[in-house]
Symmetry: C2
């Protein structure tokens, strides 16, 4: 039986068995390393897939926004780190959510600490966000005085609690090989240990270290002396992780099924219904080409091995242009499906917003449910405007 | 009064006056040229904004998918061109929608025509999709025999009607200057006229020409001897159109308001809450830099002129990294908003899914309403599986 007979539009196919295996493997690795596992849920964004983690004993999670924290809090998660520099403008959401679940937030400036000290009058765990080489955000790991200043400011507060230092080793995504990614992870860990020592000398005896990135956590067996890991992408992996060497091809758990709508044999290309709004515009360089995804054939059990030499060459709002090797052009007809292994599964999940398992079951995400939530949010914020206790906070902007 | 006091998350701000002015101007230009105006609604994707076009007398529209056609059909639009190569796998949707509204579809192969001839037994208007230089899809304009073959196949059918030739001049987006964009448009029009003449000689007396791209239609006063234009992006314009010279800065009608969450004065950068899932990963090269958007300050009347030298340097799932000139660093605090003029407004609209006008009114799009629609679709397709009259069509795959 063709599991894809009823697929007519770009559809995110999920191999549940692979995803569960990926989860199980990371749970076991964290246990073997005696490290707390706080997986990042921004990859799958789904309450149901969250339950697969719960079945493996996971009880604490990471998210990338307060909106996402709210979604998972509504689905029974009570211990949530929001791994994003605290956004001052969401103080109302924090007041609301902080009374329902245990939240841990990130700060990287004394300004943010001062704001929370004055504007959020409950106990709150804070991590200092460290830039250990990713060059995105956080206090540079070499800036020990800056880190100390924030730690001291947190500790000076009666209700804020300094939990530790936290980093995302985004540099491992730029690694050309698994060896490089492993090296970047180990080097970043060393930077975190240096900060921890400096803080200890300054009197901060309990400084936890939280790290995490899928390449480092997937490639290494020994994750080092850290307290917590927060990888997310490993649940599905993707073409980028495969390129880095952080997974095997048979670990990739999602692919976008896209209808072929036109053939251009004279230039070895076919056009798929599958564009930026379905796959995202994330790309990488592979064999000298800009690629927006790897390509496989649909199979009864999911999808084939990648078609060697095939790639998504270009992408616009709804169209994707696929380059195929000349010898495979004749195997693809208008009306067929091609399976796209995404460059970055997190973004493709966010774009498509819903999974279809190989068994045909639909699994929603928070994106699918956003319209309901937006309605509720609007209702709430209209009510809040009538409440005197919130009106102070809007005046700070 | 600060119109943005209540904005806490990335929010798409719409200047309604500018959008209405942009619509009015294009309506007037089409009238002056005696050309049918069939605007592309994939840019705004909103029933309410569609009404602004209706108020200007527009009664026919273009969309990029059957899903979008269904959305606008549900909002009273009865004459819809789906400007995307017909997707054979959506024959059921076509049967359903084709009985409710007048649809015009695109084909570019005899296979697609044969499929429709056999599988869709109602009258249907078809356009042949021409590649007049964009190199995305369509039959190459030079391939007159190929175009004739498809036209003949359509005409041979009792129920299919050959409407004309249609092209999207995507090459104008690659123009470095307004003059170049205008030249590309005129050259592409000449190619379309050559095809029209060849078809006339072969006995096809009524071959309409439908073209459209925002740069060409915005820059030129004289749009040439075509029958229909289908620009879409002009309703809002964006940083790309500004770069090409297709609009003035004061024509740009949307900007994403994004909270500043961290400052890095040592590297002249700030971090915004605003990433790929809000802005899309569309970028262009400007002054030698990869830019994911222009940057402006919020103002009571919308936003300021672009900050010279500022740009969105990098983007990840939820973070944006903004480069600011050293002298403006001190004007931006954590908790402030920055306004991002998107590289490609269509994709930013699709990502954010909802507008907030300067007056604070929320305007939904089909994205906001997708979750409801997905529910309905699922119900429908479950019903359809029980209906014998559809079961034939799924067997062709």
């Amino acid at each position: 039986m063709d599991p894809y007979a009823h697929i007519s539009r770009p559809t995110l196919i999920l191999n549940e068995e692979r995803a569960r295996r990926n989860i199980h493997r990371m749970v076991e690795k964290a246990k073997a390393n005696h490290i707390r596992f706080r997986p990042h849920f921004k990859t799958h964004q789904s309450a149901l897939i969250g339950d697969w983690f719960r079945e493996e004993g996971v009880d604490a999670i990471t998210v990338s926004s307060l909106s996402m924290a709210r979604y998972f809090a509504a689905h029974g998660w009570e211990d949530i780190t929001v791994a994003f520099p605290f956004n001052l403008r969401e103080i109302e959401t924090l007041w609301d959510l902080g009374q329902k679940v245990h939240l841990e937030l990130l700060v990287e400036s004394t300004e943010a600490v001062d704001f929370l000290e004055k504007q959020y009058l409950r106990n709150l765990d804070l991590w200092i966000k460290i830039d250990a080489g990713a060059n995105r955000t956080g206090i540079k790991s070499e800036n020990i005085p800056g880190i100390l200043a924030v730690a001291e400011r947190i500790t000076a507060s009666r209700h804020l609690n300094f939990k530790g230092i936290l980093s995302h080793y985004g540099q491992t995504y730029k690694a050309g090989t698994a060896e490089d990614a492993a090296k970047y992870y180990v080097e970043a860990n060393q930077k975190m240990k240096i900060i921890q020592s400096a803080l200890r000398k300054a009197g901060f005896r309990k400084t936890a270290i939280s790290v995490g990135d899928t390449p480092g956590c997937s490639i290494l067996g020994n994750l080092g002396k850290v307290d917590e890991i927060r990888p997310g992408n490993f649940v599905f992996f993707d073409a980028t992780q495969l390129r880095i060497g952080a997974c095997r091809e048979e670990d990739i758990a999602v692919a976008a099924a896209c209808p072929v709508v036109a053939r251009h044999p004279e230039r070895d290309e076919v056009i798929i219904y599958g564009g930026a709004v379905h796959l995202s515009k994330e790309f990488f360089l592979e064999n000298g080409n800009t690629s927006f995804g790897n390509v496989a054939f649909p199979r009864a059990d999911g999808w084939s091995a990648r078609i060697q030499g095939a790639y998504v060459r270009s992408i616009s709002q709804e169209h994707g242009i696929i380059h195929l090797p000349t010898k495979t052009m004749n195997q693809v007809k208008v009306g067929d499906l091609l399976m796209i292994l995404p460059v970055h599964s997190c973004l493709t999940v966010a774009a498509l917003g819903e999974y279809t398992t190989l068994e045909g079951e639909k699994i929603p995400t928070m994106v699918t449910q956003l319209s309901d939530q937006a309605e509720r949010d609007r209702g709430e914020s209209e009510n809040e405007q009538d409440q005197a206790d919130y009106s102070d906070y809007s005046s700070v902007f």
